[in-house]
Symmetry: C2
Subunit: 368 residues, 2 copies
């Protein structure tokens, strides 16, 4: 076992944490550094990554992987505002099991007294299921040989639509949920979850951050966004702060928005970028982007370029050309990811830049 | 137009080349540098990448993209031995059109007198179709304002199997082709192609390199390999040189090969790497690799890791862990590419290293 840990940054034995987990077997705990100031160290037990106690439950609940990634990575970004990566160690949620989360996501009923979604009500016009998923993230500090739980983040995703059938084999109806109504339901659920967590010894006193994520409708081409969060020190939630994330698909349809709008600059830059590479290479099937904004400022952009098949030499030249045009036209100071792929989503190359770097990296995938 | 060319490395007007192409309109030609000593500059005409005159024909002939990439990138590697990238500029094949190549790949018949595959013969036991694809690559030099064709590489892929039906709606039969027989057919085709090219003005005197690629059988999990090449200065092919490429799928089944074998060291290193990461993360669906050998020495390795769905935090930690283990266990001095993807081939992250660097790069794909 010892040999396995040579590359890990620290080895601690964790009597106290393990007692809190109700597990008295001896475990060897370490953390794994992500090698950057802006990413968390994570917890390793007996040489294995410590996975979430509710691992997979969100996927079972019918979410797409894209939606889950969006939720999960957005939640980490919220967490970073409250628990700085240079101070805290990230741990996948260890206090809420799959069973608990499934109970909580259920409609309230005799069978599910803990259910946080409303009882079904009228068969012809049922109450919405507001809550879609719940995710726990733990934040630890290390003192000597010991990791202790110092904070928790609970992400709550609410639906913007719900589906129902009036009879078992009948048609499926879709109803929109008002954004304010869904958010209110998410906040009410957060208040109840807070009370439940305060009754557990391990989470009685730690700060608990709640963040509400609003799913996009089924017809939307972009994921949802985080809309509000709060930090609870005591038993009550005091005040929710608004989170202003927006995701925009580029190129967008012409609007009447004034040209001085910051977002329109980004749109124009992207359009210039796209025109350049479409002019340079024949038969590009599509150049699109997702731009994310935080408080009205661009916070990142993911570009997808779909190509007809290109030979290795074409892909090499194209990728290099894309990098040059990205440098010239795409906004600086934010992370950029450009995926070059076949029309059936087979990755051919990637060009990317971290937010804090001016330099792009590129890689062309190879075949033997 | 001028503005489009600002980032390109040189602007040349090309009377002579254009005359050779039989095209007297004025075109603005430039080259695009790939920014490395070991990759070719490529030709750009009127701000557009100059694509092959036979573009797409090989895909039309029923090749998989993987097999085409393997053929195409292997051909460039052969070319580099004869036409060094620091001296020569790469141009996608401009002298053999799709029509010509399709004529040459046909079975010889009244309709296809130029066909290089043998006539069908007996319906019940037809002659094999030896030739699968033909690709042209051009190598130019620049002198003053002028690019001139200085060399050509012709890749010829031969089949290791062929399929036939005895009657129109009947069953399909598959027959293996002896390796030596297929290679002999490829070499005979090269001799004929050389004679045809020597009759064209542009290719009358330049050195022409022929390289024979042997396709893997349909049941093979790895692509084919280049097996022989020759450089013809005159009208006859003098001597074929053997090319010793091998592609191996790892982990491989235990063999009785002696443990001092170089390849077995690579296998052992890969197995150590795989065991480490499989121990560290639960539910990996598969860790496999393709190792390529040139003259018995490892020349590169592509690793594919299939994961069950992971959250963003899991993927971040996993990718970083994979990088450390790659540094520790995978062979140095050759290019390594590690693809981390879902079981349905959706890319999640990539870890890679160029052959001439000790450092790995990694990128985790994001979603908004």
């Amino acid at each position: 076992m010892k040999r396995k840990l040579v590359s890990l940054s620290l080895v601690v034995s964790l009597g106290l944490l393990l007692a809190a987990c109700g597990n008295s077997k001896s475990k060897q705990m370490t953390t794994l550094s992500n090698g950057s100031n802006n990413t968390y160290r994570t917890v390793v037990v007996n040489g294995k990554y410590l996975v979430s106690k509710s691992r997979g439950v969100n996927l079972d609940n019918g979410n797409s992987i894209t939606s889950l990634k969006s939720f999960d990575s957005g939640l980490i970004n919220v967490a970073k505002q409250e628990f700085a990566p240079k101070t805290y160690i990230f741990q996948e949620g260890q206090y809420l099991s799959s069973h608990t989360i499934n109970q909580w996501l259920a409609r309230k009923s005799e069978k599910h007294p803990q259910g946080l979604n409303p009882a079904k009500g009228s068969k012809d016009n049922p109450n919405p299921e507001y809550l879609q998923q719940i995710e726990e993230q733990d934040f630890m500090t290390q003192s000597g040989n010991q990791l202790s739980l110092r904070g928790m983040v609970i992400g709550i995703a609410v639906n913007s639509q719900y589906q129902y059938q009036k009879k078992a084999d009948g048609p499926t109806y879709t109803k929109d949920i008002e954004s304010s109504e869904a958010q209110a339901a998410g906040k009410a659920a957060a208040a109840k979850i807070l009370q439940r967590l305060r009754q557990k010894k391990a989470t009685q006193r730690i700060p608990i951050v709640f963040a509400i994520y609003q799913q996009a409708g089924d017809e939307s081409l972009v994921g949802g966004n985080f809309v509000a969060y709060t930090r609870a020190e005591g038993n009550q939630i005091q005040h929710w702060k608004k989170l202003d994330y927006q995701t925009k698909l580029l190129p967008e349809v012409e609007t009447t928005t004034t040209k001085t709008d910051k977002k329109d600059d980004d749109t124009q830059n992207f359009t210039n970028f796209r025109d350049r590479i479409q002019n340079f290479f024949p038969n590009l099937s599509g150049v699109t982007a997702q731009a994310q904004y935080y408080n009205g400022n661009l916070s990142g952009m993911n570009v997808t370029i779909s190509t007809q098949f290109y030979s290795e030499s074409e892909i090499q030249s194209f990728t290099q050309y894309v990098e040059r045009q990205a440098k010239k036209y795409l906004p600086s100071g934010v992370p950029i990811e450009i995926k070059i792929q076949t029309t059936d989503n087979d990755i051919q190359a990637v060009v990317y830049r971290d937010g804090n770097s001016d330099n792009y990296n590129r890689h062309v995938f190879s075949a033997y």
